[in-house]
Amino acid sequence: MKHIISVLVENKFGTLNRVANMFSARGFNLASISIGETEDPEFSRMTIVTNGDDHIISQVVKQLNRLVDTIKVTDLTRQPHVERELLLMTMKLSKTQQHEIFELINVFKGKVVDIKQKSITIEVIGSPDKINTTIDIFKPYGIKELARSGAVAIHRGE
């Protein structure tokens, strides 16, 4: 089962490496990892997407907690949370399909961030599922390059 885990860590050199290294050393799955500074520059928040049964996930959480640079680990999977991913994608642009592409961008609430004679770059924000669907739908139009941020997630407020 897919789990989304939020980890508050010390904003220090090597912390990302410690976490990623722990996943590979212990043979845990690491689907995505994203990290950024929080409102307090002493801390960073990591969002980790991983897969595993309850036994493995409980070990993942414990091993994350065991790292000295880890402040707090929260498995958001079964708690109310918001999860978002950013997709940047460059596609071929042809006169014949231009119209359809723009319609689809609207459907996915995407934005055009760059446009050239023969290509268009768009951004789409949504849950990883929505991002997967977006990629599937746009594939037939000719994707030249894409980049995904990996999921970021946060608790829903009270």
Partner: protein, 573 residues
């Protein structure tokens, strides 16, 4: 000691910090990045620096010292190869949870990342084998980093911590300030057990008909032997120990079951197989203990106390996890059970039956020398009072079987990592820490060669260790597996043609050496060696080449697959 307002350079700060951490010994080797430290060291009188002959030796010595005393072992090595040579020793200490602080020199900060001379990314390399590690980038951070490193190494589950110190940091100066307290936000080990959990455990144990204590190195490192003894004896519950747990409970007490697991006693493994409540304390259900997970203690309600939450439910799913220090757990459990568990006699007599059915025995043959005899004899002659260090292999397992450990901190052995070459330096380190008991090393001829350079260290510092070389001219344990499971293809395990004359080698190093080829000469040699205290002494025991360690549960097997002897290798029990 300098007041906190004094300006010191990095290497002076380094020694000031070690003084405040009450360091007695540094096991080290100089080099380019550490020249400033060794310049300062020249005038340091209150901390003794032990010059090793290879950095791996320094790490094992530090671990031997740490395991014998409970204090952290200190290693000081230079950058690059000096640092990478410590990797095996650090990994060993990590696997066996030994407190250690390793200081590595590093190239100047400005050169880091430039493939400078003697540069290695030791912080990156050791990330997965240290409890934590640090690169100090500013001399102002040095004191607090050292304070944190000692705190991390010795609190919670002990382990190795590494501090990488660039050359310019050691040369730079700042006001010295030693922090009174240390606070690490992400490190808050649970020491006290949850009392409700302890009461639940007490309730289950009180109702048990066939309870069994399974204790490991955690009992030793938390100094909980007294509490264990009090609890087990009061409740009349038998105690089986892991390799690292030997000595936690006196081996000569009727409730002692000896070791369990792959080469554990028959009765221990039968007891695990049949117990109804298993109380695991400071042990981690290692694969050498459990064999096949599905058939391990199948009838038991399992209680697991460990200070490291990651150990709980890692290998074996337990019914009652209790995170906390073993000493606290056992004391709380003793208190929670004012009444004795009733009617355990049938269980104890069942264990006695197993004990009589397959005892640990060996038969001396005329003109031949068996390792079991040597270890048994050393056990008798030292009255179980020695600090026993081993290397890795057959002799290590025989030591667990035939040496009667009566005190904690009496066996120092590489359990988790299984590092050949550990024994000799670890024995030297142990001897620096313990002066009032003999330090005895059992070492195979294979492992002895792996850190033989440290014999010079032992000779130079006149360390009176007794090196009992169990010389069968084979990599015996590998040979045993080749015979049992690999079609008797003795691939590269026969050292007979290539081993040196160990007596001559020892003498060339300046070490007293004896030879023993039969039981009589062995007995006398042991006596002589134990009486000799001017420096190290080596006895070359020419033991049987092809003996095997039994009983044995094949890797991944169940207790029912236990092999009891060579002649009937498929005896199902």
């Amino acid at each position: 000691m300098p007041s906190s307002s004094q300006t010191l350079n990095g290497s002076e700060i380094f020694f000031e910090c070690l003084r405040r951490e009450n360091v007695e010994y540094i096991f080290g080797y100089p080099g380019g990045s550490l020249l400033k430290v060794y310049e300062t060291l020249y005038d340091v009188k209150d901390i003794q620096h032990i010059l090793v002959r290879h950095e791996q030796g320094a790490t094992h010595m530090a671990e031997g010292y740490a395991r014998a005393t409970g204090k952290p072992g200190i290693v000081l090595v230079t950058s690059g190869p000096g640092a990478t040579n410590t990797v095996t020793g650090i990994a060993n200490a990590y696997m066996d949870s030994s407190p250690m602080v390793v200081f590595t020199g590093q190239v100047p900060s400005t050169l880091i990342g430039n493939d400078a001379f003697q540069e290695a990314d030791i912080v990156g390399i050791t990330r997965s084998i240290t409890k934590h590690n640090f690169l100090v980038k500013d001399v102002k951070e040095l004191a607090i980093t050292i304070r944190k490193a000692f705190f991390l190494a010795t609190n919670g589950r002990p382990g190795p911590v590494l501090i990488d110190m660039p050359k310019d940091v050691l040369n730079a100066s700042c006001d010295f300030h030693w922090p009174d307290t240390v606070e690490i936000r992400g490190f808050k080990p649970t020491v006290k057990c949850h009392i409700n959990q302890v009461e639940k455990a007490a309730y289950k144990i009180a109702k048990a008909k066939r309870p069994l204590l399974y204790v490991g190195g955690g009992v030793i490192s938390s100094n909980a032997s007294e509490e264990l003894r009090a609890f087990a004896i009061k409740q009349n519950i038998p105690v089986t120990m892991t390799l690292q747990g030997l000595g936690a409970f006196p081996g000569n007490h009727p409730l002692s079951m000896g070791m369990l697991g792959m080469h554990g006693t028959y009765w221990s493994n039968q007891a695990v197989n049949n117990c109804d409540v298993l109380i695991a304390v400071g042990a981690r259900f290692d694969d050498r203990v459990t064999g096949k997970i599905e058939t391990f203690a199948p009838q038991a309600y399992k209680i697991h106390n460990d200070i490291d939450p990651t150990n709980v439910d890692k290998n074996i799913k337990v019914e009652l996890p209790i995170v906390g220090d073993a000493k606290h757990f056992l004391a709380a459990l003793l208190e929670a059970m004012p009444k004795k568990v009733e009617n355990l006699e049938p269980w104890l007599s069942e264990i006695q039956t197993w004990r009589e059915k397959c005892p640990l025995t060996y038969t001396n043959e005329e003109g031949k020398l068996k390792t079991e005899f040597v270890i048994d004899e050393v056990s008798k002659q030292t009255a179980g009072n020695a600090v026993v260090v081993t290397d890795v292999g057959q002799h290590q397992m025989w030591t667990s079987q035939y040496y009667t450990f009566t005190n904690p901190r009496s066996i120092i052995t590489s359990g988790g990592l299984g590092t050949m070459g550990f024994g000799l330096p670890a024995a030297i380190g142990a001897a620096f820490g313990v002066k009032d008991r003999p330090v005895v090393l059992f070492c195979g001829d294979g492992g002895f060669m792996m850190n033989i350079q440290e014999l010079v260290t032992a000779v130079h510092y006149k360390i009176p260790i007794k090196i009992f070389l169990i010389n069968n001219s084979f990599l015996g344990m590998v040979r045993q597996w080749q015979e049992l499971f690999h079609k008797e293809k003795y691939s590269f395990t026969d050292l007979g043609d290539s081993n040196p004359d160990f007596v001559k080698v020892a003498e060339a190093f300046g070490c007293k050496a004896l030879i023993a080829e039969n039981t009589d000469t062995a007995q006398q040699a042991i006596k002589k060696a134990l009486a000799y205290n001017e420096g190290p002494v080596l006895v070359d025991f020419r033991v049987e080449k092809k003996d095997m360690v039994f009983p044995m549960v094949p890797a991944g097997g169940s207790i029912s697959d236990m092999l009891l002897a060579r002649l009937n290798p498929k005896t199902m029990v």
